[in-house]
Amino acid sequence: MIIQVKINGIDKEWDVDPGMILLDLLRDKGYKSIKRGCDEGYCGACTILLDGQAAKSCVMLAGQAHKRSITTVEGLGTMDEPHLLQKTFVEHGAVQCGYCIPGMLLSSKALLDENPNPTEDDVKEAIDGNLCRCTGYVKQIEAVLDTASIMRGEN
């Protein structure tokens, strides 16, 4: 079956097997920032933005993305021009092994797009579907709060 998606702002048309999992499709197409951690929707390493909402691509069929817009970390920023979230995550020491980070960045972006003035609890809730075993989450929460305040022009 043919699906049409807009991914990181670019229109794509892909011929996919109806049983194909969205995570597998996207990784096959080269979007390697999306990671596989459990294949069961628990860990959040495969998080993407689907029409701006954080979604776990390992428990979605490719067809469910038809005519929708997808954002991955490749579309968030580049190493030359990183998104502010990417920059603050690094500055706050929020990145250790980095395997969960693309997913966590996208969950954080979804939050900030909707709520430019999040509380600490809002941040915790936004990323509670992204498991991280390295960090203890402290620095990631700090980074998201700091990003929000910079975006509001406070820092």
């Binding site: 990784r27 390697k32 920032s33 999306i34 990671k35 596989r36 951690g37 459990c38 294949d39 069961e40 628990y42 860990c43 390493a45 991955t72 970390v73 490749e74 968030l76 920023g77 580049t78 190493m79 990183p82 990417q86 920059k87 995550f89 690094v90 500055e91 706050h92 020491g93 929020a94 990145v95 250790q96 092994c97 980095g98 395997y99 969960c100 980070i101 693309p102 960045l105 941040v123 915790k124 809730e125 990323i127 509670d128 579907g129 992204n130 498991l131 991280c132 075993r133 390295c134 960090t135 203890g136 989450y137 402290v138 620095k139 929460i141």
Partner: protein, 848 residues
């Protein structure tokens, strides 16, 4: 040439950005699965459905007819090479009791065979249709059952053996044994006013790196085997896989790309061998990635332990004797069976070094259960639980503040412990005196930050329906394995004054690439940005034992420092020629070499001259390092817990950790190590456990039913670095990565007791267990011994005193029965009764 000691540090001690941070945050950094390998086959492994069985027959005919199935290997297709999966230095102290594939399966999840197919679907379909005929054998599903006379023998194959002279008796399921005695135990206990004997138990747990085990293998253009793998130990992988494949080591290359966390489970050589065999058979690239369920069931775990502690103390708080007896369950294979158990003593007993009477006895036993392995903390986690809880219990018996009690007894700078020499890792330990020790300051700083004095006021602020409690513990670990571990680095200059820094040390997300570059940058007066850091590739980087035993900063960091010092000498010599002065009179700073008159040349100019212009040579060096000490980092952990009176559910509200890791080379990364370890520890203490069915199958192999903490569970957490200077470490550094996973078990157990008077000696501390304790019932504990078994146990005469005391839960010596001021009665939580083993039951003499 003398090295000038710098007064001020420019790079070390600064939170420079992680060298791979932005690449990771942009999703660019490559993990194993991110490499595209043309024509790559997918490997899937069949897991045993039985805990203990012999494979009678495997019929792969139907599976081979499935389109896309390329190769199936069973134990009949590959050489039978006994080995250990433990990625330790050679000769490994773990027994050689494992085969890549065998005709016997020893736990649910053990490997039966492996398939390589064009697609995952075809591989899975093959696993579905392959017929395997098993002869079921009686399984052994607990450590104590394993020790019984006549228990089924798990390793009955003749090949199982150890390659170093250590006790190993597979015919009675004994995978490792260590014991030692210092002083006179009888005298020690006789001198005590209070003697407590208690039993503690820790549970299975999994490391849960977000990236599961994964490896890809292929043959390069010269027919050499290349292994791209998510490992902590690339050089051990090369050696062990070569041995299994019976290939020369030189024919194997191991590449470690970015790693998605390890925590010890990737110190195992688990996936590389099957992949490699399939590549050799098919001549094609093969990739094997464990599923999350395989990660739980078939990879490695934290060894469960039963710890029997007996401690004597005088009224003034002086300890008189400590006895520690451990039964450790290593599961079906003896990976790290000896050394994890040794560490439960060697990283724990020296803390209370004033005691002159110490005995230790550890037995590691095989069962038909998941396999233990290295896990952050490495036995110290289990040992710290038992030791730091019994110290709390004894302090309460003596009516002393647990902090004051510890201050009387803990080890200090300049002191040693006979335990250091008595307990090593597969050989005798190395005697050492403590150099840097900031434990006193850690305690003071934590008391202040936590407001320990104000806790009675805070207790009153508990919300309705909750009881608030406070607990603490002190910790030590080590830094590297002395006189065993070796790390090395090499470095070369480029025309622009940049350097390639090649290290065998394995950054698995810890930030070691950054920390090592900081050490080199400090020596050479340049910045971290001037380094291209590469770790690790056995063809390119010098040897390093790998990332384990809290060694990278302390050991590999020193190797990098040695290497940078050599390079510095070469630069100074070339610059001296250029400036016409003696190299002794030069300083190197800010990317320049400057003489006494202020004349200078840049490092880039030195490089260009050396490479192109005059007296051409490559400025570069290689250096290595071994250590003669394993200086412990120290920490104090303080915790505040609220317990729900209706459900028993315990919630950590506040967690303060003060840590002396020597110089923190990169404070922010060091804090991150602490925070991650603490949360993993809390998660282990409160929720993480393996649930087994009666046939030994782990029933909760997913993140839905095996709970690891997320942001919703996060307490208020404060980490404070308390700097000291360790003379033997690079710029004064010690280790930081493991120690802080050990505090949550004891500190939270102590806090729960403080809150509701229930003493939890069996982890995890679930609401159910706490509630049962509050109700005065012990049967909430699934791990309590069956009654008939407890009744059948012989109680030797000399243990009768302890047995008597057990009735009130307080093993107080006769002359000081009760201090009377205990305001929280010990409701004798769960399975606190001392056992009567030592550790194996003596040949039964029926007592009439």
């Amino acid at each position: 040439m003398a090295v000038k000691i710098k007064d001020e540090l420019n790079v070390v001690g600064k939170s420079v950005l992680k060298v791979d941070g932005l690449s990771l945050a942009c999703g660019k950094a490559k993990f194993v699965d991110d490499y595209e390998l043309p024509e790559c086959l997918v490997c899937k492994v069949m897991a045993s459905p039985f805990a203990h069985a012999r494979i009678k027959k495997i019929d792969k005919t139907r599976a081979l007819q499935i389109p896309g199935v390329v190769e199936i290997i069973t134990h009949e297709d590959i050489p039978r090479v006994p080995h250990t999966t433990a990625g330790q230095g050679y000769p490994e102290p773990s027994p050689y009791d494992t085969f890549t594939l065998d005709n016997k399966v020893r736990y649910v999840g053990d490997r039966v065979l492996a398939v390589a197919a064009e697609t995952e679907e075809a591989a899975l379909e093959a696993l579905r249709v392959i017929e395997v005929e098993y002869e079921e054998l009686e399984p052994v599903l607990s450590a104590r059952d394993s020790m019984k006379e006549g228990a089924p023998v798990i390793h009955d194959e003749p090949e199982a053996h150890v390659i170093i002279p250590v006790p190993y008796e597979p015919e009675r399921n004994l995978a490792a044994h260590v014991d030692f005695k210092i002083g006179d135990m009888e005298k020690g206990f006789a001198e005590a006013d209070v003697v407590l004997e208690k039993e503690y138990e820790t549970q299975y747990a999994q490391h849960c790196p977000m990236e599961p085990h994964i490896a890809a293998t292929w043959l390069d253009e010269n027919n050499r085997l290349v292994i791209l793998t998510s490992t902590q130990v690339p050089f051990h992988v090369r050696r062990i896989v070569a041995e299994r494949l019976q290939m020369p080591i030189g024919k194997v290359r191991v590449i470690k790309p970015r790693i998605g966390g390890g925590f010890g489970t990737k110190q195992e050589v688990l996936v590389e061998d099957v992949c490699a065999f399939l590549t050799l058979k098919t001549k094609r690239p093969v990739k094997y990635e464990m599923t999350r369920a395989e990660e739980f069931i078939s990879s490695r775990t934290r060894h469960p332990q039963i710890l029997n502690m007996k401690v004597g103390a005088k009224k003034d708080g002086t300890l008189t004797a400590i006895s520690m007896k451990i039964i450790m369950n290593t599961g079906a294979y003896g990976s790290h069976a000896l050394t994890v158990m040794c560490n439960s003593g060697s990283k724990i007993l020296p803390m209370y070094n004033k005691v002159m009477n110490v005995d230790f006895c550890g037995d590691t036993v095989y069962t038909n259960m998941p396999v233990g392995g290295a896990y952050r903390g490495y036995g110290a986690t289990q040992g710290a639980f038992a030791m730091e809880v019994i110290m709390d219990e004894i302090a309460r018996e003596l009516n002393m503040d647990p902090v004051e009690f510890r201050k009387i007894n803990h080890i200090r700078s300049g002191e040693g412990s006979p335990v250091f020499a008595a307990l090593g890792e597969g050989k005798a330990g190395v005697e050492q005196k403590i150099g840097s020790c900031g434990l006193d300051r850690c305690i003071e700083r934590a008391l202040e930050e936590f407001d320990w004095e104000g806790r009675e006021e805070r207790r009153k602020l508990a919300p309705p329906g909750k009881k608030r409690g406070f607990g603490m513990c002190i910790l030590m670990q080590g830094s590297s394995i002395p006189e065993i571990d070796m790390g090395a680095a090499s470095m070369k200059i480029n025309e622009d004054g940049s350097f390639n820094l090649l290290v065998g040390a394995t950054d698995l997300g810890t930030g070691s690439d950054t920390v090592l570059a900081q050490v080199a940058a400090e020596v050479l007066g340049i910045s971290v940005d001037d380094f291209i850091v590469y770790s690790s590739d056995t063809d390119m980087t010098p040897f390093d034992v790998g990332a384990y035993a809290s060694s990278t900063t302390y050991l590999s960091g020193y190797a990098v420092k040695n290497c940078a010092e050599k390079v510095k000498m070469q630069i100074l010599k070339a610059a001296g020629d250029m400036l016409g002065v003696d190299p002794y009179d030069l300083t190197i700073e800010n990317k320049k070499v400057t003489d006494m008159n202020g004349n200078s040349v840049t490092i880039a100019e030195v490089a260009r001259r050396a490479l192109y212009e005059r007296d051409q040579h490559q400025i570069g060096a290689m250096a290595s390092h071994i250590t003669h000490k394993s200086p412990p980092p120290f920490a104090a952990h303080f915790v505040e817990v609220d317990v729900d009176e209706n459900t028993g559910f315990a919630e950590v509200k506040k967690y303060v950790c003060t840590i002396d890791c020597g110089t923190a080379i990169n404070p922010k990364l060091a804090e991150g190590q602490c925070e991650g370890a603490i949360l993993n520890g809390i998660s282990y203490a409160l929720t993480e456990e393996y649930i087994f069915n009666k046939k030994g199958r782990m029933m909760n192999a997913d993140f839905g039913s095996y709970k690891i903490f997320n942001t919703a569970d996060l307490p208020e957490m404060k980490v404070i670095l308390v700097p000291t200077y360790e003379e033997t470490g690079p710029y004064g550094a010690k280790s930081v990565s493991e120690i802080n996973i050990n505090g949550a078990l004891p500190a939270i157990s102590n806090a729960i007791f403080d809150a509701v008077g229930v003493r939890l000696r069996t982890a995890p501390f679930t609401g159910e267990k706490i509630l049962m304790g509050m109700l005065g019932k012990n049967n909430g504990d699934p791990q309590v011994k069956p009654e008939e078994e407890a009744a059948a146990e012989e109680v030797p005469e000399e243990n009768n005193a302890a047995e008597e005391n057990n009735s009130n839960g307080n093993g107080v010596n006769n002359n000081n029965k009760n201090n009377g001021s205990e305001n929280r009665k010990d409701k004798e939580g769960l399975s606190g009764e001392p056992a009567s083993y030592g550790n194996y039951p003596a040949k039964k003499k029926k007592k009439r």
